[in-house]
């Protein structure tokens, strides 16, 4: 029966049925295979509801909304300015600023594509003025957006936590050091590019202006303290932190900076609705599939097969990386997370791995999948900003993908990097 589901799913995808519906159709085919009893199909809406009915998942639209409000309300701009003060005077400063500010912005905003869009659209005109090749700018936007998906509070980390029953706070803590590794690697790569292409430094700013920018940037940065500090300190749950982030971001950009007009707020709300719809339908229909598979004990069989071939965690991790990399290339990673995580987490535990480590390395794969063609959401968004055709961007993107692949292997095979902070914080 697993084969039937797989064939139906692939056929539906190839025909360009939206992924969310393709998942539902394959779940339906699985149910019909089990029994032709039409009463059985009532399980589909029931599982759809059950898949969405969870308080931690509420953090997803809320973090998307927080990011959306902040990019419309001038907060993305302030974060960029702030990093410009600190990193602008290095060779290739603008490129480095893009990378660093995408990561900082990522600590407030949950969605990879929204980060890429927010920072990219602010920085692209500036980079063009400074003679950055458009392909390089595109590659930097995409790579920073994808690689920063390890930065808490990313949407996929929330989903991983919910479906695999791992502490979301723990995942948020575990993601910090690996994302720092990604950030460092990208910054070094951008620096090398800047050396090779002889790119200029950022503008020299007078001290008075610098101080003003720093003063302006402190409040947006304080948001990161509230969100992450609040979660790590046990003051509130990730969902509550997201709601607080929305309210804080709204107050900053509406009352203090007065840059968020009511029209922008509407735009932010609708963008959030649209993006949430894309994510939530997949969550609902993927849990239909999970149910059908579990009903037929297929996860059990898959897990058995995995343990048969992967006798230790080193091979297992290699296997997980390959599967998620391939899936991440051809489709959105979310359905893969929802269906596969509950299967592989028990296997990982039986091989002596910490589930936090598994969650983070899967997320590192997901981040890489966001920039790999043919289906890479961050790559699409970055190309949309720079108007570089997708095919042309790939050559410049290659070194970035390679570097992120190397950091992926580092994150995969040195679990201490991932586990240091969660252990320190007691997750």
């Amino acid at each position: 029966m697993g084969l039937v589901i797989l064939i139906v799913f692939c056929a539906a995808l190839a025909l360009s049925v939206p992924i969310g519906i393709a998942l539902g159709i394959s779940a339906l085919s699985g149910l019909m295979y089990i029994s032709f009893d039409p009463d059985f199909i009532i399980l589909l809406p029931q599982k759809f509801m059950a898949g969405l009915d969870s308080f931690p998942l509420l953090a997803i639209p809320l973090f998307i909304l927080a990011g959306s409000i902040m990019s419309h309300g001038g907060i993305a701009r302030r974060i960029v300015d702030l990093t410009l003060v600190f990193f602008g005077r290095i060779r290739g400063g603008l490129g480095i600023v893009v990378t660093v500010s995408t990561f900082f912005f990522g600590a407030i905003c949950g969605s990879g594509s929204a980060k890429t869009a927010a920072i990219g659209s602010v920085m692209f005109p500036e980079m063009k003025r400074n003679k950055y090749p458009a392909e390089l700018a595109t590659a930097i936007f995409a790579a920073a957006g994808g690689a920063s998906s390890l930065v808490p509070p990313s949407i996929d980390l929330i989903v991983i936590g919910v479906v695999a029953n791992i502490s979301i706070g723990g995942l948020f803590a575990a993601g910090l050091l690996p994302s720092l590794i990604n950030l460092t690697a990208l910054v070094v790569l951008v620096y090398f590019f800047a050396r090779k292409l002889d790119l200029p430094m950022g503008p020299q700013l007078p001290w008075s202006k610098k101080l003003k920018i720093i003063r302006d940037g402190i409040l947006p940065m304080f948001m990161i303290v509230i969100v992450l500090g609040g979660i790590y300190g046990g003051i509130f749950t990730p969902t509550e932190a997201a709601a607080v982030a929305v309210v804080y971001g709204f107050c900053l950009s509406f009352f203090l900076y007065r840059e968020l007009r009511p029209a922008d707020l509407k735009k932010a709300l609708l963008q959030t609705a649209s993006l949430s719809g894309v994510v939530l339908i997949m969550l609902g229909t993927a849990s239909m599939i999970s149910f059908v598979l579990t009903f037929e004990r297929i996860p059990h069989q898959i897990a058995g097969a995995i343990t048969h071939y992967a006798s230790n965690w080193i091979i297992f991790v290699l296997f997980v990386n390959i599967v998620f990399l391939i899936l991440g290339m051809v489709m959105d990673a979310l359905p893969a997370i929802i269906v596969l995580m509950p299967i592989i987490v028990p296997v990982a535990i039986s091989l002596g791995m910490n589930p936090l480590h598994l969650g983070i390395l899967v997320e590192a794969n997901v981040g890489l999948g966001m920039i790999t063609p043919p289906v890479g959401i961050c790559l699409y968004v970055a190309c949309g900003i720079s108007k570089v055709p997708l095919e042309k961007s790939i050559r410049t993107l290659m070194p970035f993908m390679l570097v992120l692949l190397i950091t992926l292997l580092i994150i995969s095979y040195i679990p201490q990097i991932t586990l240091f902070l969660p252990k320190l914080l007691g997750f």
Binding site: A12, L13, A14, L15, S16, V17, P18, I19, G20, I21, G24, I25, L28, I41, I42, L44, P45, Q46, F48, M49, L52, D53, S54, L58, P61, L62, L65, A117, I235, F236, T239, E240, A243, V244, V246, V247, K266, K267, L269, L270, Q271, T272, A273, S274, L275, S276, G277, V278, L280, I281, M282, G284, V330, M331, D332, P374, V375, I377, V381, G384
Partner: protein, 169 residues
């Protein structure tokens, strides 16, 4: 991707009920969750109903936002295989996809309706809302999804007939 299409939709927003409802749901989720934190820390009073209410609002958000994402054509679909095909074959496949998606949605709506009716007598533990209220989101959302799938299909066809190329994803 979704930004361009949302931009179009933003024009004349509040004559559009779906957009209005979605915005209201989002704002209410933020409000309810924020109040929950506020009550716990400022008034030292943990609310019993807030989490449940937020979850039910979220179910409605999930169903309606999925429909809205059909309206803005934001859903992920693998286009790169189909786009390689020539015009005629592609049109044919697009129609087939609309047929498949609609068939699934009709089944989903029908079964969701049966499911909500069977839940009509159950009452939510802390908000005392009948469970049919949150569960009805599935068939309402499904119906709207069906509507937008068919509407997009019709619009695409009429633009093609006029000799213009259909809107790009």
């Amino acid at each position: 991707m979704e930004t361009d299409s949302t931009k179009q939709a933003t024009k004349g927003l509040y004559r559009q009920p779906l957009e209005l409802v979605l915005s209201l749901i989002l704002v209410s989720i933020v409000g309810v969750t924020f109040i929950q934190v506020l009550f716990r820390y400022i008034f030292h009073l943990s609310l019993a109903w807030s989490e449940e209410l937020a979850r039910y609002l979220f179910l409605w958000l999930g169903a309606l936002a999925s429909a809205y994402a059909f309206k803005t054509k934001s859903h992920f679909a693998l286009r790169f295989l189909v786009d390689r095909l020539g015009g005629k074959a592609r049109d044919w496949i697009d129609t087939l996809v609309v047929f498949i998606v609609s068939a699934f949605l009709i089944l989903f709506v029908w079964k969701s309706l049966v499911f909500s009716i069977s839940m009509a007598r159950q009452i939510a533990p802390s908000t005392k809302i009948p469970m049919a209220v949150p569960y009805s989101s599935a068939w309402v959302g499904g119906t709207l999804m069906l509507y937008y799938v068919l509407r997009n299909w019709r619009l695409d066809r009429s633009t093609k007939k006029q000799g213009k190329s259909g809107p790009e994803r």
